[in-house]
Symmetry: C2
Subunit: 449 residues, 2 copies
């Protein structure tokens, strides 16, 4: 005890503190002291309560304190389409159900849908998310109001956008957002070209340049489906990862979502260029995109993080459910129960998530000096006893609903499952209203055909 | 309105009643009237409250009333081993972690562990389960005390059992249980030989005879792993399903768990003999057993139900999580997003579950005259709005934790997530105590080697 941090705003404590993804790092009756937006200390509850006697105490006798989960790929505003159409061939789903409604999208729909997804994310343990959709300014507004940490991108592609119209306007919008949020403590603007099959090489190059100049995370969908690969080969003579490589766009700032269909050579390229991968297993299963070669990527040293993808293709944004699927799917694909063990999976959802966003010095583990992004689970649940191993429970047995408190950047955003920075009832009620509008739009689009 | 049922004990109602697995069958502002153990009527809330004015009303304005889920294969008492060892090769897991502890199993451990699993099952929407483990009398005692519907078997195999000792004692125990529970309204005793690789043909034949004479459900693990198939071929010259066929044991009373490794001919055999299949997808993934050919079995007309398998290999007994995995896995295996649609999956977890247990005239849907086994979900959750399609939400978005009320056989066993027939805090506390004993047993077994 060096006496340096004799002040703290909160001491959050529980039966266990798990500051990392490793069971061996747990502290029984452990605590986190929070001052301002950051972690002032971690240690035993006894030690921290003695050291910071005036801090407000949030103690859960049956609680587990751990880092908040990091959702590295989603389309949070797509909650307005959750469950509107499932179990369909991809093109039927997109062309008959998703696109017609998206054409009529407006700012208010994006704002309300994002609020709802943020409510779901906080209530299921996510404290940071990386988003890519339309009307990004509205996504940022919802994130700012609710105090969640977010990396937010306006999707860019070759055709006109319901959000910004012509592509030049899109780039202008991204530049404005970058400038508007440059000093924001929680929100980072990303540059987010949609994919190699919807973006011409010139668009991709221009986006990469903007990302580099703006110091932004660069996000793209990559090698998601067989048809994307076929299209890319047909147009450019090479597969998607090779295509980006030829354009000189593979680099450590790039976060590539999906990466399902990869050759050995493409995996090596991702590894050598330090591209980060956001693995969206439930979306890949539900849309029958395929099983990404995640154990092989990890073996090659690629930083693999986890994303839920959007609530229209998952159909949730629950990272606990996602972890459970990630850990199980790769075992049966490899016919080897030792791959994607619980600690590896938990690391993907926390530390690797931070690294994928370029924020591993700020979030992803609970360490003195890092931002105070943490969650508390209630271990007094029939499905969480007995307790032999924390990562095992977090990956195989815990549910988003077990999270009772959430703190982001030192601010308590959920206490006893009650959201403090967001009116949940209002978000639900407004989405119910909005859904009747969505159905009307889809009907009119159908009738117009 | 025929006036026949002018009496009811309860009217359970909500924003929606979904009496089957079909979205088209939903009733807005629907209700179920319950008299004694059975459903007296279903219809609109207005109609039923007028018809049964004196019934106690349980109305959830944001509720969904639906049939309870049916877990057709589990080992409920294995909760004491939940998470004790994961991510290991099957034989390491069994021989170093599971078997040494099971050798020291006693009646109290089984009773307490079953109580805990029943708490978890009720809290995640299950109202019936089919169990196979040791000390079946203790499983039945826990089920009887808590009022859950159960099919319970004592596992039989060639070696001595920690429960009954010699095989003859095992058969005697099963006969006694059958006789003791013959008149029980909720508990049925099954005959449960473990598998073709742990049971000699004479044991299997003797078990089948007992099942036939006792009018019991006949339950077996079948074709779960490649090694089971190899062992069977080596010993008997044929694969597991063919082996049972030669012995004349494939028939409509047989409920076969897993059925992962099947040839086309074996699938046809299961279909023609009307064997029922309990599909345990999460266990099959986690233990890397393989992906069962479920869409093909359904195509051939086999009744496929769903089971969680035991909490040591899953690691939960949550049927909502299981449905989500079932619907997603087969899409990516087939690379076809239209297989295992939400309604088919929900049917497997409800009506097919009832049929697999020979109880489709009693449970599996909400119909007048059937037993009142129903659950109510709270739809006022961020992940359940908007709501375009009920089966989609139940399979892809809902969680066990969304279930707020549960009624089994006309008895309210959970209200507002509070268990009424079971002391949850006691079950959790006693399991925590038990877990230290389990660790001690495992340590001693390790030291003795």
């Amino acid at each position: 005890m060096d006496g340096k941090h004799d002040q703290a705003d909160y001491i959050v404590s529980g039966r266990y503190l798990l500051p990392t993804w490793r069971h061996a790092d747990r502290i029984e009756d452990g605590a986190v002291a929070v001052l301002g937006d950051a972690i002032a200390a971690i240690g035993s509850r006894a030690e921290l309560t003695a050291r910071f006697p005036e801090a407000e105490r949030l103690h859960e006798p049956a609680g587990l304190v751990m880092p908040g989960l990091i959702n590295t790929h989603t389309h949070a505003p797509m909650s307005y389409l959750r469950g509107i159409a499932d179990d369909l061939p991809l093109m039927t789903w997109l062309q008959e159900h998703i696109f017609p409604v998206e054409q009529q999208l407006d700012a208010e729909m994006v704002y309300l849908s994002t609020l709802l997804s943020i409510a779901e994310m906080i209530k299921s343990g996510t404290t940071s998310f990386c988003d890519m959709y339309l009307f990004a300014g509205e996504v940022a507004r919802a994130a700012d109001e609710t105090g969640i940490r977010a990396w937010i991108g306006e999707v860019l592609y070759d055709f006109d956008s319901p959000s910004y119209g012509k592509l030049d306007n899109g780039f202008a919008m991204v530049r404005e957002l970058v400038s508007a949020y440059r000093q924001h403590p929680l929100i980072s603007i990303t540059v987010a070209p949609h994919s190699v099959y919807t973006c011409a090489p010139t668009l991709l190059e221009r986006a990469a340049e903007l990302a580099a100049n703006g110091g932004c995370l660069h996000v793209v969908h990559l090698a998601e489906t067989e048809s994307e690969v076929a299209t890319c080969v047909e147009r450019y003579g090479v597969r998607p990862v090779q295509h980006l490589h030829r354009l000189g766009l593979l680099e450590s700032r790039l976060l590539a979502a999906h990466c399902v269909h990869l050759t050995e050579e493409e995996m090596d390229l991702l590894a050598s260029t330090q591209v980060k991968v956001s693995h969206c297993v439930e979306s890949n299963m539900k849309l029958a995109s395929g099983a990404a070669p995640i154990p092989a990527l990890i073996q090659k040293g690629v930083c693999v993080a986890i994303g839920t993808d959007g609530p229209a293709s998952n159909n949730d944004v629950d990272m606990f459910a996602e972890m459970s699927s990630v850990a199980k799917v790769h075992k049966v694909v490899a016919m080897d129960p030792t791959v994607m063990d619980a600690e590896t999976t938990l690391k993907c959802a926390t530390f690797n998530g931070a690294m994928a966003l370029g924020a591993e010095s700020e979030i992803g583990t609970l360490e003195t000096g890092k931002k105070a992004d943490l969650i508390v689970l209630d271990l007094d649940q029939p499905h969480l006893v007995p307790l032999y191993n924390l990562p095992s429970h977090l990956v195989y047995a815990a549910r988003g609903g077990d999270v009772i408190h959430s703190m982001i950047n030192g601010r308590l955003v959920m206490k006893q499952r009650h959201l403090l920075s967001l009116d949940e009832d209002m978000a639900i009620a407004r989405m119910r209203e909005l859904s009747t509008k969505v159905l009307r739009i889809r009907e009119q689009a159908g009738a117009a055909k």
